[in-house]
Amino acid sequence: MRKEGKSMPIKQISVFLENKCGRLADVTGAISANGIDIRAFSIADTTDFGILRLIVNRPDDAFKVLREGGFTVSMCEVIAVRIPDRPGGLAGVLELMQEAGVNIEYMYAFSAKISKDALAVFRVENSEVAERLIAEKGIRALSGEEVYSL
């Protein structure tokens, strides 16, 4: 059980995509056809393939829809934090993470209507350390509910 005040990890969907015309539209089409909204996404790509990472309002449904649609899909937990919208805002968060030895696998930023703050998604190697850091150093993390209902 997680204690109150700790961040709730957010479910992120990852989809394997070959670098082929129309594949991205196939994924987003399958999701929207089921009334699922995308909250944030990013694509990592190489010459041959890409990995689409998605945060949606109904992750479990999206996972099921994509799996049944024949996509290679996985679900993992990420952390979403508010980044103060001022020079050095992101740098401050990253420095805290570096000091605590939190290894970032990848990150991407997105914006939402709720605040002036920018939002960033982090996939980290050692999520317990990151969660403790968030609790202790005043980094403002978003819970799953908050992100899904953006």
Partner: protein, 436 residues
């Protein structure tokens, strides 16, 4: 219970030097027999300017002509018999799904040899005269049923000649008659196991201890499943109608390759393209010369099965050299930059890395003068990670391991599931786009 682990210790554990001496003596007899009594072989020898006296040592074997399946078809049905039909006491034939069946004839002596090698093979999987041997290979023109039958009788076991079909009845018989050894094809053994489960009969209701399975290729994974489901030790037996039927080679309980009964069958592994003999460890086509057959001896018969010679001594005590588990048929072989490549070699690497049956496709193209090999692997389940780094590491690992096995460079491409063309449920493994 008496447990005789080796059926014929004198021959099965004969020192290699004595075995070689016996082989050359028997090879000379066989060559002389085919030269004088089979016009096909006499012509083939004469075309090479050879006569029976030119075979003086085992090294001379490499100068002898090959025999192919086409040669058997051309001489259908009795053309290669070296005895009159009055001496032939049995005729078997392959199923002949592609053209005319392949025929094998036996003299009374040949049946004795067959019973001997099958007795040795059944003994490998624990059969003794106290065993109840359930033979569920088909009885008929197919060599499986009667081959296992005569070996089991030779041992003095109680033989249940169940043949194929009537699966529920067979299970009842196995249970009621207390069958201890099962001899059939591996796929039928699996079917028996599944039907048993449906019937609510457990392996503990049966007395099965060993299974001798052959006539099809089967994987290690299938072996573990059969051993687990039936509570047995499952061993592979190899043979061909052309040579004698099952009993040419068999696994011992070490399960590390198949002992070829070298006092009856002389074997080589050759490069199927050049016909050159290959050293132990190299994969190529198995070629078998019968040493004691009378009705239809064959010289350097090209089996089209791909394996390798294992020269190391086996801990089981049998001195007869082993061949590795079969990795495919020459029909599936690709020649890329002069290197022989079998899809199964690539499959094995993927199986090792993914721990599951992978979907893959091999694409060969020619760029300029050079052949290029690309292996497309479908990314699914365990293969997938949300991190690019992991997928790239996986790609590199697959590439390195395949290159280690094949000794040529390959390109690996990760593709989405269902990308690879499937026809009638079976994936097309090789696409050769070279215009050769």
């Amino acid at each position: 219970m008496e447990l005789s682990l080796i059926w014929n210790e004198k021959y099965e554990c004969m020192p290699q030097s004595e075995l070689k001496a016996l082989q050359i003596e028997r090879l000379r007899e066989t060559v002389s027999r085919v030269f004088y009594d089979a016009p096909f072989y006499r012509r083939a020898f004469q075309e090479r300017g050879m006569g029976p006296d030119d075979v003086k040592s085992l090294d001379d074997l490499s100068r002898l002509p090959f025999t192919t399946k086409n040669d058997l078809r051309d001489n259908y049905p009795y053309g290669l018999f070296t005895v009159p039909l009055s001496e032939v006491v049995r005729v078997h034939a392959s199923s002949g799904t592609t053209g005319k069946p392949v025929v094998g004839g036996y003299t009374r002596h040949d049946l004795e040899v067959w019973a001997e090698v099958m007795a040795r093979s059944l003994t490998c999987c624990g059969a003794t005269k106290n065993s109840v041997i359930h033979v569920a290979y088909g009885y008929g023109l197919f060599t499986g049923g009667l081959g296992a039958h005569c070996g089991a009788e030779r041992i003095g076991a109680s033989v249940i000649p169940a043949s194929g079909g009537h699966t529920k009845r067979q299970i009842m018989i196995m249970k009621d008659f207390g069958s201890t050894i099962l001899a059939c094809t591996p796929s039928y053994a699996m079917h028996l196991a599944l039907v048993m489960e449906e019937m609510g009969i457990y392996k503990s209701d049966l007395k099965l201890q060993g299974g001798l399975f052959g006539a099809e290729s089967w994987s290690q994974n299938m072996r573990s499943q059969l051993e687990d489901r039936l509570g047995i030790m499952a061993l592979d037996v190899y043979g061909l109608t052309e040579i004698i039927g099952p009993g040419v080679a068999v696994e011992c309980p070490e399960k590390q390759g198949l002992h070829v009964w070298e006092d009856h069958f002389l074997f080589e592994v050759i490069d199927p393209e050049t016909g050159e003999q290959l050293p132990p460890g190299s994969y190529g086509e198995l070629v078998v010369t019968s040493l004691t057959k009378q009705a239809m001896p064959l010289i350097r018969y090209r089996t089209r099965d791909i394996t390798t010679i294992m020269a190391e001594a086996c801990p089981c005590g049998r001195t007869h050299r082993r061949i590795g588990r079969f990795v495919g048929r020459t029909d599936d072989m690709l020649v890329i930059r002069g290197v022989n490549v079998f899809p199964s070699q690539i499959e094995e690497v993927l199986l090792r890395i993914a721990h599951t049956e992978p979907q893959y496709q091999i694409i060969v193209e020619r760029r300029g003068q050079l052949d290029e090999l690309e292996v497309q692997v479908e990314v699914s389940g365990q293969f997938f990670s949300d991190e690019v780094r992991r997928l790239e590491t996986l790609e590199r690992q697959i590439r390195r391991e395949i290159e280690d096995v094949l000794n040529i460079s390959v390109r690996i491409k990760l593709v989405e599931p269902k990308t690879i063309e499937r026809s009638e449920g079976k994936a097309k493994r090789v696409i050769d786009r070279r215009q050769l």
